[in-house]
């Protein structure tokens, strides 16, 4: 950031505009060149038209609503479970050493691989997608909350205990406020992976949701339509991430 302060904003903005302009021109040139199979790289006009058609019709909002519901429920289930596990692991050294390695090592595994199990357990409908999202969300939230618990200043805990606070009071007055940044970082990371988990599951086996729309467009070789949905999905992911970052304040600097 100090380097950023030294360099004036104008050249940076010019470079950004130049990069975007070059990328768009290169895209349009590739679309017009015919080097790739027809419509694999559609013209920007076609993508814009598909995007307009997409946002001005009802199916997007119906499927978006369904996906948002699945992600929201995933975030609640995975988030609450993650926070509870994180509180237990971060607050107890024995439990941490007994169980945290499992979370630590299971965290980076590809969660989509558990989807066949989720289908068996929760069916082919929304349940298995919510389960995928919850499972994906659980690990970053639990690990981040545990780290947050361990980073609570001991003086805060001592103050609570000196007031003879009950466990519930300690939780509400000391632990949760103290771990808020770490918890929100975990939830932000959890949201990101829950989005991926739910949407990938929808692309694999579903008849509704944005993931289903993507794979449906792919199956019908409707490339402009597929690009349009991908643009919407990425924009929504960015907006959701930014909103949670706002909530977390400076939490983005906290590491998991």
């Amino acid at each position: 950031m100090s380097a950023g302060a030294r360099v004036r904003g104008a050249p940076v903005a010019r470079v950004r505009i130049a990069i975007v302009a070059v990328a768009l021109i290169a895209w349009e040139a590739l679309a017009a060149s015919g080097l790739l199979l027809h419509d694999v790289v559609p013209s920007l006009g076609k993508i814009a038209a598909a995007l307009w058609k997409l946002v001005s019709t009802a199916p997007l909002y119906q499927n978006l609503g369904w996906t948002a519901y699945e992600i929201g429920v995933s975030l609640v289930i995975g988030g609450v479970a993650g926070v509870l596990f994180g509180l237990a692991l971060g607050g107890n050294r024995f439990l941490s050493r007994a169980f945290e390695p499992y979370l630590h090592y299971l965290g980076p595994t590809p969660k989509i691989i558990f989807f066949p199990i989720m289908i068996m357990w929760f069916g082919v409908g929304g349940g298995s997608k919510i389960a995928m999202g919850s499972l994906s969300c659980f690990f970053p939230v639990a690990l981040s909350t545990a780290v947050g618990m361990r980073q609570i200043e001991p003086v805060l805990v001592r103050v609570g205990k000196s007031f003879r606070a009950s466990f519930a009071q300690m939780l509400v007055k000391i632990y949760l406020p103290a771990i808020r940044p770490a918890m929100l970082t975990g939830l932000r990371l959890g949201l990101g992976v829950a989005v991926i988990g739910v949407l990938l599951a929808e692309t694999k086996l579903s008849n509704r949701g944005l993931g289903y729309l993507v794979i449906q467009r792919y199956t019908n070789f409707d490339m402009p339509g597929m690009y349009a949905i991908l643009i919407v999905v990425f924009l929504l992911a960015i907006v959701a991430n930014a909103l949670l970052s706002r909530l977390g304040g400076s939490s983005s600097t906290t590491t998991v």
């Binding site: 590809p110 691989i113 066949p116 990101g192 991926i196 692309t203 490339m223 990425f234």
Partner: protein
């Protein structure tokens, strides 16, 4: 000393005992008919199917296949990401203009564009490797920039006192000093690549371990499917541990 060793071992034993206890409970509940065995297979049947999965499903070859895909994606990400990172470090305006974009891409659900890659590259290993490459690229770029721009001033001054050229300064001072940080990026990159590769293998039913899980699920061979999933987790954990050790070794040098 032995007491402290025992106290260190107790939580690990408690963790293992809990896992074994849960599996035994599930086994008992399936035998009692409280859990449907056509939904959750017997843990003993899963254990027994490991030999079958290894012998009949070519799991070792599949692991090698997936590993080679991850390695190819990781090497590509290291070469391209390292070059881009070096360029961004050298051109500060470029860095300021694009670093937040790279960070945004790192947090974006890149794997969702796999249908697009299917159209461009076809349903083959190229699609899988390219998804891994794209997923692994941002951490390599970010950590290369962080490592190269964080070289201690005194080291650069020593180089200048020896009148090193820019290229010599890069290879003799900046790159070795940044190597531990760059390796962190490479490790993250190859982990992201592996996760995405196994995921896409499963989704498009092509390749190594991911395809194995999909095939076994479609065959409704539940014990073998669970064993294959366990195998994928095991490979991920081993991979994670090995790269973590290398990272610590590099950091301690």
């Amino acid at each position: 000393m032995s007491e402290s060793r025992a106290s260190a071992f107790t939580p690990i034993a408690a963790g293992l005992a809990t896992v074994a206890g849960v599996l035994a409970l599930v086994e008992a509940m399936i035998h009692a008919g409280w859990i449907n065995r056509f939904v959750v297979p017997l843990p003993s049947a899963v254990l027994a199917s490991f030999g079958r999965v290894i012998a009949e499903e070519n799991v070792l070859w599949r692991t090698l296949y997936t590993g080679m895909e991850a390695l190819a994606a990781g090497v590509m990400a290291a070469l391209v990401g390292g070059a881009i990172g070096a360029l961004l470090t050298r051109r500060r305006v470029l860095r300021l203009a694009t670093e937040t974009w790279v960070a945004a891409i790192a947090a974006a659900p890149i794997v969702l564009i796999y249908p697009l890659f299917l159209v461009v590259f076809g349903r083959n290993a190229s699609t899988i490797v390219m998804i891994g490459f794209v997923a692994g690229l941002p951490p390599v770029i970010l950590k290369t920039v962080e490592g190269l721009s964080g070289t201690r001033r005194v080291l650069i001054d020593v180089g200048r006192s020896f009148k090193l050229t820019t290229v010599q300064e890069f290879w003799k001072i900046r790159f070795p000093a940044a190597l531990p940080t760059i390796f962190v990026g490479f490790r993250l990159g190859i982990m992201f690549a592996l996760i995405n590769i196994v995921g896409v293998e499963y989704l498009i039913n092509f390749g190594g371990l991911g395809q194995l899980v999909n095939e076994l699920a479609e065959r409704y061979d539940l014990p073998a499917m669970y064993a294959a999933i366990f195998f994928v987790v095991l490979v991920s954990v081993v991979f994670f541990l090995v790269t973590e050790r290398v990272e610590r070794w590099l950091a301690s040098r």
